[in-house]
C-alpha cells in the first residue's frame, strides 16, 4: 500500500474510533427510562385527589430518581383502599396507621417507614376538646352533649377518642345527646370549627390538626379546652406488598430516611422541596410492635380488622 | 536497663506520680478523666486571661503554673537552667497552635488520652492508635532529614521570659485581679483546691524536669529501642498507677458510650492525635514536655507554649474544639490544615542528601 493511502486509512480509523467513543459517552449520559420497571404507590386521600397529588408527586419523583424505578402516584379514597390494594392496583401504600394495620392483618403488608410531623415526630394523638367558656371543663361533663368525630377510619379523629371514652366509662352510643361526622372534605378542620362556633359541644380533634391550625393562626390555644388526651400512636405509614423484593423495600426505606428538608426535585420546571410538599418533617423506621397500641384500641372499639358482628 | 541507675528510678517515679496525681486531681475536683490535661488547662487559662469568651471555659489553672515554675526551680537548683533557642521560631509557634487543634479535636492531650483509656474509656483507643501512627510518621520524617534546626545557647535572657510570664500568672492566681475571669459553670468551674493544684503542679514540674519524662517521647523510644530505654518504663508506671487509682476510686467504667469528655468520631480522634504525635516528634516533645522545657529556659519550647495559648483561644473562639456531639466542620478543617502545615514544613525544612 502506498504511504498516502496508509495515512488516509489510519486517519479514517482514528475518526471512526473517536466517533464511537464520543457517541458512547454522549449516550451513557441519557437515562434509559424505557427500561425502568414501573411500580405504583397508592396514596390515601386526606381531603381530595388534587391535594394528594400536590403533596406526593414530588416525593414520588424523588423515589423514582433514587431507586431507578418509575413510580406512579395513585390517589385512593380511604374507604376504597383495601379493595383496590387487594385487586393489585398498587405495590406500595401510604395510609394512616389504622389502614396499615388492616392491610397488615389481612394481606401481610410490610412496614417501611412512618411520617414524622409535629411535636411527637412519627407519632401523634387525639384530644377531646370543648370551647372555652362553654361550661364543659372535664370529660364527665360531655354526657348528654353533642359531639362531632372525624372520619371513622381516622385513628386520631375517631378511634383513639372513642376508645378513650369507653375506657373512661362513657359510651358514645348511649351517653351523648348524639354524635356526628362531618361530610365532605376537610373533616378534621370542620369538627374544630364546629365546636368553636357552637354547632357542637365537644369534638374529637387530632392533636396534629390543632397544632397546625394554631400555627397557621386559624385558632388560638385559648379558644378551647382539652378535656382529655389519648395516648400517642404512630402516624401515617408507608407499606409494601408482601411479594415485593425485600432489597427494593430496603432501598425505598433508606431513601425515605435519607431525606433532608433541603432535598428538591423538579416538577414542570419548578424546584420543589420534597418534605415540605409532603407535609412531613422526615421519616422514621418504626417497629410493627409500635402499632400494637392501635390494635388494642381497634379491638376494644370493635373496629376493623378486629370487628365482630 | 540498669536497675542501679538513679535516672531509671526517677523516670519510674515521675510516671507513677503523673498517673496517681492525674487520677487524684479529678477526685479532688477537676473534671472527670481530666485530672491532668495540658490542652484543657491551656484553654481554660486562655479564657481566664480574656483570650476567648466561652463562659464555661475560663479558669487560671494552677497546675499549669506549677509545671513551668516547678521545672524552672528544679532546673535552677540542678544548674540546668540554660537560656537557649533560635531554631525556627515561627514554625514552632504555629506548631503550638496545631498541637492545640489536634488535642481539641480529640478532647484531650496525650496525658489525658491515657487517663481516659485507663478509666475504661474505649473511645480513646482510636486516639492511641493515632498518636502511635503520628509518632511513627514523625520518626520517618526525622530519619529522612526533616529537622527544624538545633537551638543555640543565647547570650540574652530570652529563656527567662516564659518562666517570668508564668510567675506573673502566679501573681494573678494569688492576688486575683478583676480582669482575670473565672467561670462559675461548666468544666472550668470544676477544680481541685488551688493550693493542692499548685503544689501538684510544682511537684510534677520538678520531677518531670529531672527525668525528662514525655508521653510521646516514651512512644518514640519504645519504637526505636524497645524496653531497653527507660522512658517506656516510666510510661508503663504512669498507666499502671492510673489504672490502679481509677479502679481504687471507683472511676473505672469500661465502655464505648457515656464516657465523660469523649465523642464517637473515631476517625477524627485518630487524626487529631496523629497530628499531635507527629508535631511532638518534630518539635521534640508533647505539650507537657514543652511546658517543662520552657521552664528550663528553652525559648523554642517557650514559643510552642505561646502558640498553644493562641491555639487554646482559637479552638474556643472559632468552634474548632470537639464536643460530646462530635467534631465540628471547623475542627475537621483545622486538623487537615494542620497536616498541610506539617507536610509543607517537612518539605521546606528537610536536609536532602545530594
Amino acid at each position: 500500500m502506498r504511504p498516502g493511502m496508509m495515512t488516509i486509512c489510519r486517519t479514517s480509523i482514528y475518526f471512526m474510533l473517536t466517533s464511537i467513543v464520543f457517541s458512547t459517552l454522549l449516550l451513557s449520559g441519557c437515562k434509559d427510562t424505557k427500561k425502568r420497571p414501573v411500580m405504583r404507590i397508592g396514596y390515601m386521600n386526606c381531603n381530595n385527589e388534587q391535594e394528594t397529588m400536590q403533596r406526593f408527586l414530588p416525593l414520588t419523583r424523588y423515589l423514582s430518581e433514587k431507586l431507578d424505578v418509575e413510580f406512579v402516584a395513585v390517589p385512593v379514597d380511604t374507604h376504597d383502599f383495601e379493595k383496590r390494594f387487594r385487586d393489585g392496583e398498587f405495590t406500595f401504600t401510604h395510609t394512616n396507621s389504622l389502614i396499615y394495620i388492616i392491610l397488615r392483618e389481612n394481606y401481610k403488608l410490610g412496614l417501611i417507614a412512618s411520617d414524622k410531623r409535629g411535636n411527637f415526630g412519627a407519632r401523634t394523638g387525639g384530644a377531646i376538646i370543648a370551647r372555652k367558656g362553654s361550661g364543659i371543663t372535664k370529660l364527665s361533663d360531655i354526657r348528654g352533649k353533642r359531639m362531632v368525630f372525624g372520619p371513622m377510619l381516622a385513628p386520631t379523629g375517631y378511634l383513639a377518642e372513642y376508645d378513650l371514652m369507653l375506657r373512661s366509662g362513657i359510651d358514645p352510643e348511649k351517653d351523648l345527646a348524639y354524635y356526628a361526622i362531618p361530610s365532605g372534605s376537610y373533616k378534621h378542620e370542620k369538627l374544630v370549627y364546629g365546636v368553636l362556633f357552637g354547632q357542637y359541644d365537644v369534638a374529637a380533634a387530632p392533636l396534629l390538626d390543632l397544632e397546625v391550625m394554631t400555627r397557621e393562626g386559624k385558632i388560638a390555644p385559648d379558644d378551647f379546652v382539652i378535656l382529655a388526651q389519648t395516648p400517642i400512636i404512630p402516624y401515617c405509614t408507608f407499606g409494601a406488598d408482601s411479594k415485593t423484593d425485600p432489597k427494593l423495600i430496603d432501598k425505598f426505606r433508606q431513601a425515605l430516611l435519607d431525606l433532608k428538608p433541603s432535598d428538591t426535585v423538579e416538577i414542570n420546571g419548578e424546584r420543589i422541596k420534597v418534605l415540605k410538599a409532603a407535609w412531613a418533617d422526615g421519616y422514621e423506621e418504626l417497629l410493627d410492635s409500635d402499632y400494637n397500641i392501635i390494635r388494642d384500641m381497634a379491638r376494644r372499639v370493635n373496629m376493623p380488622p378486629y370487628q365482630k358482628y | 536497663m540498669n536497675l542501679r541507675d538513679r535516672h531509671f528510678w526517677i523516670i519510674l517515679a515521675t510516671g507513677a506520680l503523673l498517673g496517681t496525681l492525674g487520677v487524684l486531681l479529678a477526685v479532688w475536683g477537676n473534671p472527670e478523666n481530666s485530672g491532668i490535661c495540658v490542652s484543657c488547662f491551656i484553654e481554660n487559662s486562655a479564657g481566664a486571661l480574656g483570650f476567648h469568651d466561652n463562659p464555661r471555659m475560663q479558669y487560671l489553672r494552677p497546675e499549669l503554673i506549677g509545671f513551668v515554675l516547678g521545672a524552672a526551680v528544679s532546673a535552677i537548683a540542678a544548674r540546668e537552667f540554660r537560656s537557649r533557642g533560635g531554631s525556627a521560631p515561627l514554625p514552632r509557634l504555629v506548631s503550638g497552635i496545631f498541637l492545640m487543634v489536634g488535642c481539641a479535636v480529640f478532647i484531650g492531650c496525650p496525658i489525658k488520652l491515657f487517663l481516659r483509656l485507663t478509666a475504661g474509656d474505649l473511645t480513646a483507643a482510636a486516639g492511641v492508635i493515632g498518636l502511635v501512627a503520628g509518632v511513627w510518621a514523625g520518626l520517618r520524617g526525622l530519619s529522612n532529614g526533616v529537622e527544624l534546626g538545633t537551638h543555640q545557647r543565647e547570650q540574652g535572657g530570652s529563656g527567662l521570659l516564659v518562666p517570668a510570664f508564668f510567675a506573673l500568672l502566679l501573681l494573678f492566681l494569688i492576688f486575683r485581679p478583676g480582669f482575670v475571669l473565672s467561670s462559675d459553670k461548666g468544666s472550668a468551674a470544676q477544680y481541685a483546691p488551688r493550693a493542692i493544684s499548685l503544689g501538684v503542679g510544682l511537684l510534677l514540674g520538678a520531677v518531670a524536669q529531672r527525668s525528662r519524662f514525655c508521653i510521646t517521647g516514651s512512644v518514640r523510644d519504645a519504637m526505636l529501642m524497645g524496653l531497653r530505654s527507660y522512658m517506656p518504663w516510666g510510661f508503663l508506671a504512669f498507666c499502671g498507677a492510673a489504672v490502679m487509682f481509677n479502679i481504687g476510686t471507683g472511676r473505672f467504667h469500661p465502655g464505648m458510650f457515656g464516657q465523660p469528655g469523649s465523642h464517637p468520631d473515631h476517625i477524627w480522634s485518630f487524626l487529631g492525635m496523629g497530628l499531635v504525635g507527629w508535631i511532638s516528634v518534630i518539635i521534640g516533645g508533647c505539650p507537657f514536655r514543652q511546658l517543662i522545657k520552657a521552664g528550663e529556659g528553652d525559648a523554642d519550647a517557650g514559643l510552642v507554649v505561646l502558640g498553644m495559648f493562641i491555639g487554646g483561644a482559637l479552638v474556643q473562639s472559632w468552634g474548632i474544639a470537639a464536643t460530646a456531639a462530635g467534631v465540628s466542620f471547623y475542627g475537621k478543617v483545622a486538623v487537615l490544615a494542620g497536616f498541610t502545615f506539617l507536610l509543607a514544613t517537612s518539605l521546606l525544612c528537610r536536609e536532602r542528601i545530594a
Partner: protein
C-alpha cells in the same frame, strides 16, 4: 554587666522602674479615680448580673407554659411553647421545656431529642449547680432510654431510627458524666 557607665545607667533606670512599679502596686486602692481595674472587677459582676437577668427573663417568658404544666394541661403547654418558639427561635429553654412535656406525655424518643437540642445550645441545663439545672430529670430520662430504647435497639440491630435515638441517649449520658465542655 557592670563594665561601663552605660551599664550602670541601665541598672539604675531598671531599679527606678521596678521601684516605681512596686510603689504603684503597693499604694493602689481599687475604685479610686480613673481606675480601669475597677472596670475589670465590674466585668465579672456585670457578667453575673446579665446571667441572672437572663434566667429571670426566661422564667418570666415561659411562666405561662410552666403554669399550664403544673395545672396538668400538658398539651396546652405544648401549644403555648410552640408560639414562644416561633417568637424566640433557637432558645435552649424552649427545647428543654418541650423535652420535659414530651417525656410526661410518653414520647420518650422525641423528649430525648429535644433535650439534646437544648443542651447543645446551652450546657447550663446539665450542670448540677446551675439555676436552670435539669440534671436529675435528664438522668432519669437517660436511664429509661438505656433500658427501653436500648432493649428495642438490641433486638432490632438494623433499625436506623432506633440507632439514631440511642445516639441521642449516649450523648446525654456522656454529658451527664462530665468532661471539658
Amino acid at each position: 554587666m557592670f563594665k561601663d557607665r552605660f551599664d550602670r545607667l541601665l541598672w539604675l533606670l531598671l531599679a527606678v522602674a521596678i521601684t516605681a512599679l512596686l510603689i504603684l502596686l503597693g499604694t493602689h486602692s481599687p475604685g479610686g479615680g480613673n481606675d480601669h481595674s475597677a472596670t475589670g472587677l465590674n466585668k465579672a459582676l456585670e457578667r453575673e448580673m446579665a446571667y441572672q437577668a437572663r434566667v429571670a427573663l426566661l422564667q418570666k417568658l415561659y411562666a405561662p407554659v410552666e403554669n399550664l404544666c403544673k395545672s396538668g394541661d400538658l398539651q396546652g403547654a405544648l401549644f403555648r411553647l410552640d408560639e414562644l418558639a416561633r417568637t424566640y427561635p433557637g432558645e435552649a429553654h424552649s427545647h428543654i421545656l418541650k423535652g420535659e412535656i414530651l417525656h410526661q406525655l410518653g414520647a420518650r424518643e422525641e423528649a430525648i431529642a429535644s433535650y439534646v437540642q437544648g443542651i447543645k445550645l446551652s450546657g447550663d441545663y446539665i450542670d448540677k449547680k446551675s439555676p436552670l439545672s435539669r440534671h436529675d430529670d435528664i438522668r432519669r430520662l437517660v436511664d429509661e432510654g438505656l433500658k427501653e430504647i436500648g432493649g428495642r435497639a438490641k433486638a432490632n440491630p438494623g433499625n436506623a431510627s432506633l440507632a439514631a435515638a440511642m445516639k441521642n441517649v449516649y450523648y446525654l449520658q456522656s454529658r451527664l458524666a462530665g468532661g471539658c465542655e
